[in-house]
């Protein structure tokens, strides 16, 4: 990564050349001839143009966008061809190309090819290889469908939707209807429009912040990956899986890109996007290194375009701003294009639907929502979630989905989401672990979106964008005027596809990330340390999800943080907007789920699951000191809140599904337990509470019988441990970490342990130690029954015998009071007598005495011990010491001991 970073710094100057070279190579590979030549020429031009645009930044010359458009199509075609050709090297380039922006793609490809080397980690190469291999076959299949889809997709973007916009007030409905292509198209487009709206509103700063935040997370991700880099194999697996997932999504992306290109070519293009999508997905899920690549892409692209000659290191901020400005310009353009094309392609769209497999529509739908979210909210977490969901859905639910999609337009999206939710509903422990990952994913998505937007700017779209912008401004403030939103969404559908493409392509650009990191470092004098800081923002971004106010985010003084905070605010607004639509709740839940679950799902899918966990933990460890604990608690709170919401939404069938998923997860987790433990040990060294807790949760879940706990009771039930230790004696050690079941004794053993303590001839210190450990085990396992009472009573008596009043008062008496209060049987009377005596001892506490006396039941007052205690009290208050000592002589139970201490206390 570092190498890349250094390279990227210099890249700004070098990029043009590299890009050009790359293009040439691509052409040689034999991409579509028509496009290639023209594109090649245009590419160079576009490059230049792009830069110019960036310089001018906000001028927003649309002519430039046209260039971009051409370029985009070209790269995509190339990549497609490459993918079909199954050229191993080409894949990397294809990824780069997949990005709508030619310039970027060129960079990306360049970086990719060099990346493995620059990274120096063989693992990356392996990753790439893995990608190429599996993705290619998988791609080929989808390609057919996709081609078709490509055409239909353009129609999707179709205006009929736009026409419908005015009509359908329900934003949610459009969102949900996967079955309806038009609606689906509308949806993505709306998302796109959202983006545009935001842009129009002049949230340039926001956008920049977005990127910035994204960037930071990327860097963190990259670092994390570096830490965990050794596990290359895992990554590959992940990639494969992801790629599979992405295929459907890719298709959807393809249409968007295709819209730009001609229909006939669109097929090729679609293939390409599909491939790229697969890569992107793999990257996102896969090791952190990939994620960085995503982000770097946008950044790199922006930077070169913005400041062609300038060194990257110079003005980080300025870059971002430039990027933002450029983005704005670009965004409007793509929208226009989409609209125009969409109109044209409507008929084809219908056909497409028919031709397409059900799976494809689903994929599209899924992607679209993602695109929307990302576009609307720009929230990284949301995007990630959705993306994850879509992936999952594509894989898991594809079979079912097609049916549903065709038949039930509305139901499908929800179902998918729910499914994802179910997955995500995983345990809290996972959540904590998974947080880093989702963020990474999200970020890449954002980056991809930005890139896509930039790259995709058909002239025709401009007009559309402009309109959308005007509308959007109003909407922004309102958060979600649904009608306007719908319009925007329809446009966004096209964009979403574009975004998906970018996604795919983005993963290939690891080098740019490095550059960005370096830049960051340069700005921030601290090179390495800067990374953790950046990470923290990523975590914060998670927290943003949570209802917690942005203030927390603001706590950090780093500019990045401030940006993040802004970002978060954005997110909140977006969420709010969504809520009214009805999809908001789902979106939230999805988010939540995604945050926690991505890892979980991966695990379940394959053994590689462990790997992600590790990575996250490591990442956590790095950033752990940034107030993880607080964030953790916040998360929990948020989670609970979200859960409640989710629960409310969830129908019983959905719940069932979730439970099933959960139980499955648990099974898998158990298999992985050993490794997890290993990780845990590692983490323990670092003192990362987060990781520890997470591991603890994992462990606890492993031991849960059904693992089918409702999401609601995540709280401590989930943390409850079931012990396996069979040793009767155990030294007491105050827990500083989550309990390890292998050192916790189950109830039967504890019973024996209590007996041995009671019969032991050893001294009080030993017994006390043993009893404390028994109590600890009981507490950890949340055992509250007669055994618990017995243990506490035993300990109380022992401590009274020895006169260890602090132990008695603070530990045993208070606990016993609670336990008795819960109705657990024990020697209640005996201990209320002790309590009375204790209160008497503190003679100046009249109100306590009064209250404890008034609380005595009639039954208690007849008890011998209590009566004795009351008599003692009377004797003390009246000063009848003769009586007192008589009572002392005939005291029942251990009242004697207490009275003895009473004597000493009051110097009687």
């Amino acid at each position: 990564m570092m190498n890349q970073a250094t390279n990227t710094q210099t890249l700004a100057s070098l990029d043009p050349n590299s890009v050009e070279s790359r293009y040439v190579v691509n052409a040689s590979q034999g991409q579509t001839s028509s496009y290639v030549p023209s594109t090649a020429g245009s590419e160079a031009a576009s490059w230049n143009m792009y830069r110019v645009d960036n310089h001018s930044v906000e001028n927003g010359s649309f002519s430039n966008s046209t260039y971009h458009h051409v370029q985009q199509t070209e790269p995509s075609t190339r990549t497609v061809q490459d993918g079909s050709n199954a050229a191993s090297l080409a894949t990397s380039s294809s990824l780069g190309t997949t990005n709508a922006q030619p310039d970027y793609s060129g960079y990306n490809s360049y970086s990719n090819s060099t990346d493995p080397y620059s990274y120096g980690s063989t693992g990356y190469q392996g990753y790439y290889n893995g990608y190429q291999q599996q993705p290619n076959p998988s791609y080929s299949q989808p390609v057919g469908a996709y081609q078709n889809t490509g055409a239909p997709y353009q129609p999707l973007s179709s205006f009929p939707n736009t026409g419908s916009y005015a009509g359908p007030a329900s934003y949610s409905s459009t969102y949900y209807n996967p079955g309806d292509y038009q609606t689906a198209g509308g949806y993505p487009s709306s998302g796109y429009s959202h983006q545009t709206t935001t842009w129009n509103e002049g949230n340039y700063s926001n956008y920049t912040t977005h990127q910035y935040s994204n960037y930071t997370p990327d860097t963190t991700g990259a670092y994390a990956s570096g830490n965990a880099a050794t596990n290359s194999l895992h990554y590959q697996q992940h990639y494969k899986q992801w790629s599979d997932y992405y295929n459907p999504t890719e298709v959807s992306c393809a249409p968007g890109t295709e819209n730009l290109s001609i229909a006939s070519k669109s097929t090729q293009v679609s293939q390409v996007p599909g491939v790229s999508g697969g890569y992107a997905t793999s990257n996102s899920q896969a090791p952190p290194s990939f994620t960085p690549s995503w982000r770097p892409e946008p950044s790199s692209s922006q930077t070169p375009s913005l400041q062609p000659g300038a060194t990257v290191t110079g003005g980080y901020d300025s870059y971002w701003k430039h990027g933002a400005s450029s983005f704005q310009n670009q965004h409007p353009t793509p929208v226009q294009q989409h609209f125009q094309k969409a109109l044209d392609s409507k008929p084809s769209y219908d056909n497409f639907q028919e031709q397409q497999k059900t799976a494809c529509p689903q994929g599209l739908n899924l992607q679209y929502p993602v695109a929307q979210q990302s576009s609307q909210s720009y929230q990284p977490p949301l995007q990630t979630v959705q993306s994850v969901d879509t992936r999952r859905v594509s894989k898991v639910q594809i079979q079912t989905n097609p049916r549903i999609a065709s038949n039930l337009p509305l139901g499908l999206p929800k179902m998918d989401k729910d499914g994802s939710n179910n997955n995500t509903t995983a345990k809290p422990a996972y959540i904590s672990v998974s947080l880093t990952k989702p963020i990474e994913k999200v970020l890449p998505n954002d980056a991809a979106d930005s890139v896509l937007k930039v790259g995709m700017f058909p002239k025709s779209l401009k007009n559309y964008v402009e309109r959308a912008l005007g509308q959007c401004e109003d909407e922004k403030q309102m958060a979600a005027c649904q009608a306007v939103m719908k319009e925007i969404i329809t446009k966004a559908t096209n964009d979403g596809t574009l975004h998906t493409r970018d996604w795919d392509a983005e993963p290939l650009f690891p080098i740019p990330n490095a550059d960005m990191v370096d830049k960051n470092n340069l700005q921030n004098p601290i090179p390495v340390s800067a990374i953790p800081k950046y990470k923290s923002p990523t975590k914060r971004s998670k927290s943003r999800w949570e209802p917690l106010p942005e203030e927390k985010l603001l706590d950090k003084l780093d500019p990045v943080n401030s940006y993040a905070a802004k970002y978060s605010s954005w997110v909140h607004v977006n969420e709010k907007d969504r809520k009214p639509a009805g999809a908001s709740s789902e979106g939230k839940t999805d988010i939540m789920n995604s945050i926690r679950f991505p890892l979980m799902e991966q695990k379940s899918a394959s053994k590689t699951v462990q790997r992600p966990v590790k990575r996250q933990r490591l990442a956590d460890g790095n950033a752990a000191d940034n107030g993880d604990a607080s964030s953790d608690s916040d998360k929990e709170q948020n989670l609970t809140a979200y859960y409640s919401g989710a629960i409310a939404l969830a129908n019983t069938p959905e719940e069932r599904k979730r439970r099933e998923n959960r139980s499955k997860r648990f099974e898998k987790v158990q298999g992985n337990r050993a490794q997890i433990n290993h990780f845990k040990a590692k983490n323990a060294g670092s003192g990362n509470l987060y990781a520890r807790r997470a591991s603890a949760m994992v462990l606890s879940k492993n031991f849960e019988d059904g693992g089918s706990r409702a999401v609601e009771d995540i709280d401590w039930d989930a943390l409850t441990v079931k012990g396996t230790c069979q040793e009767i004696e155990k030294r007491y050690l105050r827990l500083t970490s989550a309990p390890d079941p292998s050192t916790v004794r189950p109830e039967e053993v504890l019973e024996k342990a209590l007996l041995t303590v009671q019969n032991s001839q050893k001294n009080y210190l030993y017994k006390c130690d043993q009893l404390k450990s028994i109590r600890q085990d009981l507490t950890v396992q949340r055992i509250r029954n007669q055994l618990t009472v017995k243990v506490y009573e035993t300990h109380a008596r022992l401590s009274l015998e020895v006169g260890d009043l602090p132990e008695y008062n603070q530990q045993c008496q208070s606990q016993l009071k609670i336990l008795y209060g819960e109705g657990i049987e024990g020697c209640h009377m005996e201990f209320s007598a002790y309590h009375l005596l204790c209160v008497i001892m503190h003679s100046n506490n009249n109100r306590d005495l009064l209250s404890s006396m008034s609380r005595l039941s009639d039954e208690a007052k007849k008890d011998k011990a209590v009566q004795h205690a009351l008599a003692v009290r009377a004797a003390v208050t009246s000063g009848n010491y003769v009586m007192f000592f008589r009572l002392y002589k005939m005291a029942p139970n251990l009242n004697t001991c207490l009275m003895g201490s009473l004597c000493r206390e009051n110097a009687i």
Binding site: N846, L850, V882
Partner: protein, 413 residues
């Protein structure tokens, strides 16, 4: 119940809204307070609640006119409160009330003058009463009752609003008294301390400026606190103040004061007249008083046992129990008087056996040692003047004033 027609409901709601805005604009606090005091179950509010429940869309009416919508923050929750209160959903009513009260306070803060104090009093009172009832509802549902606590913190906020310089500060004591009521009910009496401190030490409060009823209430509660602390002179002072300033027609209030004042006075050696106990139905003390008069230890113990629950709950049990020493003193004094009648020369020598015999006659089974101990304590507490001859088991009383009267001073402890 016959529900009003739609038009009728509409009319009632608009009437209410008009009344509200009129009251605010005219600064007519009496009618404003009336609009808030829903727990009075006044027919107009009840019918309004019915109308609200029937009409359902009262918020639209609020928003309709600027005159109302500027108070939308206040009125909307108030309507919700009335609705759920009418439906018997007290917890929801409480939530709405807290929202309403907060909005009102916000508005109240902005009013320069203190004209709306009366309405604020109503709110402070209603929120406490409503919280208590909501807690009862919560408790009956097996949930943890916490509304009263919430009301306490809300009133603390109100206190903060009032406790500044300015005309509003005279309202502080009322809120303080409501707070006392909450704290005493919750058993978190220690929380009273901060309020008391700000009242008693703050220069801005001249105690005599406060309304009399608040002063009485305040003195009553602080007097009770002093009883808890067994600071009898202070308790006597405060409770006596409350008694003398209390409206003599409010017998229930007088009774409440006497409930604490009598034990305090008893422990200071001042006995009440029998007619006082009768008049205020405080007969549980009559036996105690009798026991003190007669030196009848048995009677005292019986009286304590008989009313143990009541005394424990009111918190005077320990105070009354401490009267035992005075009863002993009385008993010894009686023995001394009888001895004096028989043989004045040797009257000051009290044999312990005689005391034991007397106690036995009272069915108090105490032996010599115990009696010796008691006598020692009596001497130590300065209830008896004299010395003790251990060998001969004789108490030698002082020839001058062997049984000093307390005369309003507490027993040495």
């Amino acid at each position: 119940m016959a529900y009003p027609s739609m038009g009728e409901a509409h009319r009632r709601i608009t009437d209410y809204l008009n009344n509200f805005s009129d009251a605010v604009s005219d600064q007519d606090v009496a009618s404003l307070a009336q609009l808030f005091s829903f727990s009075s179950n006044s027919p107009s509010l009840l019918s309004l609640a019915d109308a609200l429940n029937f009409f359902q869309d009262a918020n639209r009416l609020i928003k309709q006119s600027d005159k109302f919508s500027q108070f939308g923050e206040i009125l909307a929750p108030l309507f919700r409160l009335l609705q759920s209160y009418r439906l018997g959903n007290l917890v929801d009513a409480y939530h709405a009330f807290e929202k309403f009260a907060n909005a009102f306070i916000q508005e109240f803060r902005n009013w320069e003058s203190s004209w709306a104090l009366q309405a604020l009093y109503v709110i402070a009172y209603e929120i406490r009463v409503l919280a208590e009832r909501a807690d009862r509802e919560l408790a009956s549902n097996g949930k943890s009752p916490e509304k009263l606590k919430g009301a306490g913190s809300f009133l603390m906020k109100v206190f903060g609003v009032l406790a500044g310089k300015g005309p509003k500060r005279v309202g502080a004591l009322y809120v303080t008294c409501q707070l006392f009521k909450i704290y005493f009910k919750l058993g978190t009496v220690h929380l009273c301390r901060s309020v008391i401190r700000s009242i008693e030490t703050a220069r801005i409060f001249d105690f005599e400026e406060f309304p009399r009823r608040d002063k009485v209430t305040y003195m009553y509660y602080t007097g009770r606190l002093e009883v808890f602390n067994e600071n009898f002179p202070a308790a006597d002072h405060k409770l006596s103040y409350a008694l003398t300033h209390c409206n003599p027609l409010r017998e229930a209030n007088i009774r409440m004061i006497l409930k604490y004042l009598i034990p305090v006075k008893l422990s200071l050696g001042i006995l009440p007249n029998a007619w006082l106990l009768e008049k205020y139905n405080l007969l549980e003390y009559s036996n105690v008083v009798q026991a003190l008069k007669r030196g009848d230890l048995r009677l005292l113990r019986h009286a304590l046992q008989e009313h143990e629950d009541r005394f424990l709950r009111s918190g005077v049990y320990l105070v009354l129990e401490k009267l035992e020493l005075q009863v002993y003193q009385r008993l010894v004094k009686k023995i001394y008087i009888i001895q004096k009648q028989k043989d004045p020369s040797k009257a000051h020598q009290l044999k312990l056996e005689v005391i034991v015999k007397a106690l036995k006659w009272l069915e108090m089974d105490m032996d010599l040692d115990e009696v010796e101990c008691i006598m020692t304590i009596l001497i130590y507490k300065n209830l008896v003047k004299g010395y003790f001859a251990h060998k001969s088991k004789v108490v030698v009383l002082s020839k001058q004033d062997p049984f000093p009267k307390l005369n309003g001073k507490p027993v040495n402890s």
